[in-house]
Symmetry: C2
Subunit: 111 residues, 2 copies
């Protein structure tokens, strides 16, 4: 990464990643999935304050971004499971250093 | 990080960090500083497409967030140097895994 072009080449991709994890609630939803929540009710309970409508919308967005997989099990009643895809699990890992930074420094930067 | 509270405890701090690096141009400005640009002109040249007004505004924001330091040297003419603070350098390091994720996966998630 030497030239401004190389720097900017990161910018659009980086912007997509940052907006994906930065969009309100996405980070906490991804973390809940990473900790094993798979059913809708488990996700809703893992993120108090998040409305059902918004959770459904965010899950659709995360699914269309390829970081969450939605599996429909043809049981009676039908069961739906949400899991992190490979890229989703990698995204959660990539978030951790930023979370650690936030824990260490955020009070300072929130002024 | 086990309980939803612990998850949410990260949320506000994490949100501050994500918005800091996610705010358009901040990531590229921080990277330019990390690569040694210190003077205003160097930063302006390192980020083609960024207006002088917006660069000045972003530098003020990054400075008030404590991740960039602004040093005024009383020479004639006066010289102003921008550098990453300790937390700024740590933030750039914390950004890298997300940039690597973006390089690897972003095309998929930009659909």
């Amino acid at each position: 990464m030497t030239s401004p072009e190389a720097l900017l080449r990161h910018c659009p991709h980086f912007q997509v990643a940052i907006e994906l994890v930065g969009r309100r609630w996405n980070g906490v939803i991804l973390l809940a999935l990473a900790r094993g929540a798979t059913r809708y009710g488990e996700l809703r309970d893992a993120v108090p304050g998040l409305s059902e409508r918004l959770l459904a919308q965010r899950l659709r967005e995360l699914e269309s971004s390829g970081v969450v997989a939605r599996e429909v099990r043809p049981t009676t009643p039908v069961q739906i499971r949400y899991t992190l895809t490979e890229s989703g699990a990698a995204l959660v890992e990539a978030m951790r250093p930023l979370m650690a930074w936030a824990d260490r420094w955020a009070d300072q930067s929130a002024t």
